[in-house]
């Protein structure tokens, strides 16, 4: 599987470490930094596990060491693009179930191979 790193271009997935879904924002801490139990329980352990397009954090550990968000279909493993993690949260996320038109694909992320 090839992943289009926004900085490096297309790279083999072996260079990346998956870091989980980028869907859910991290819950706020409760009073006096005490975690809000149910919210953190859901955040840490509950996943929808949908058969659809997903946004997942990957760390380009054997590359530019950037955190990126990869847009991947969980059934077909088709990767439709990737975004720098910082940019992902600044911009509107791609609609679920639709191909991501905004993220860099092989057209914009030049093939680094």
């Amino acid at each position: 599987m090839l992943i289009p790193c926004p900085h490096c271009g297309l790279r083999p997935s072996e260079e990346f470490v998956p870091k989980g879904l980028a869907e859910a924002p991290r819950p706020a801490l409760g009073g006096r930094a005490k975690p809000d139990g149910p919210a953190w329980q859901n955040y840490l352990h509950l996943r929808d596990n949908v058969a659809d397009h997903s946004h997942e954090y990957f760390h380009h550990a054997l590359g530019c060491r950037s955190w990126i968000v990869v847009h991947r279909h969980t059934l077909t493993h088709e990767v439709t693009g990737a975004t720098m993690a910082a940019d992902f949260w600044k911009a509107d996320k791609p609609a679920k179930g639709a191909k991501d038109a905004k993220s860099p694909t092989a057209e914009t992320a030049e093939d680094g191979q």
């Binding site: 926004p6 490096c8 790279r11 260079e15 054997l62 950037s66 910082a86 191979q113």
Partner: protein, 198 residues
């Protein structure tokens, strides 16, 4: 008496000389398909721009260190300024204080002189060696391009210095493993470990 011993991060196997296959040139002398050089004592500083300050930092580096980093992309790397990531660059041959003065508060400058080693390889058989160790297709790299990728299992920043010459920047604690593998793997081509300049 000073009991300290300075050991090479590449280990005892990295000793100047010829290893592996010996090909004979037209004049009867031994020829190596790959020549390899480690540069000890190299000054290495990594700079990283603070968020949103990449362009400003590159302008400051251009003014302070006379280095034109272009748009900061891997293709804009220089022999002594190799792009290692987004708005990050490895500078060689510059004093940390000078780099910090140039970068100012636009980014961070960290001394990596003891953190990384640079191996330079050159020779007609370098493509054969890279085919066994690097997942990238070097035929697509223009001269002057850097790639942050890996050398075997070891994270490595590559820089294409010439048509057949590459620099590898490798973490110091992995350097011995990389050096031993390089010698073993390059043996089929013949490898000459060069003596660094004094």
């Amino acid at each position: 008496m000073d009991q300290s011993v300075i050991r090479s991060p590449l280990g005892p196997s990295w000793t100047p000389g010829h290893y592996g296959t010996v090909a004979t040139g037209d004049d009867g002398s031994a020829e190596a398909g790959i020549r390899a050089l480690h540069t000890p004592g190299l000054l290495l500083v990594e700079i990283a721009a603070l968020p949103g300050k990449g362009e400003a930092m590159r302008a400051a580096v251009k003014k302070g260190l006379k280095l034109d980093l272009g748009d900061g992309s891997p293709a804009a790397s220089l022999p002594n300024a190799v792009c290692s990531g987004p708005d990050r660059c490895l500078l060689t041959g510059f004093d940390l204080a000078a780099v910090k003065a140039a970068v100012g508060d636009l980014g961070l400058a960290v001394d990596q002189s003891s953190g990384r080693v640079r191996l330079s390889i050159d020779g007609a058989d370098v493509p054969g060696l890279l085919a066994k160790s690097c997942p990238l297709d070097l035929a697509k790299w223009p001269v002057g391009m850097s790639q942050a990728s890996h050398f075997l299992h070891i994270g490595c920043t590559w820089y294409r210095r010439s048509e057949t010459g590459f620099d590898l920047y490798i973490g110091r604690s992995f350097a011995r493993s990389a050096a031993e593998w390089l010698i073993e793997s390059a043996a089929e081509f013949g490898v000459e470990i060069l003596v660094p300049d004094a």
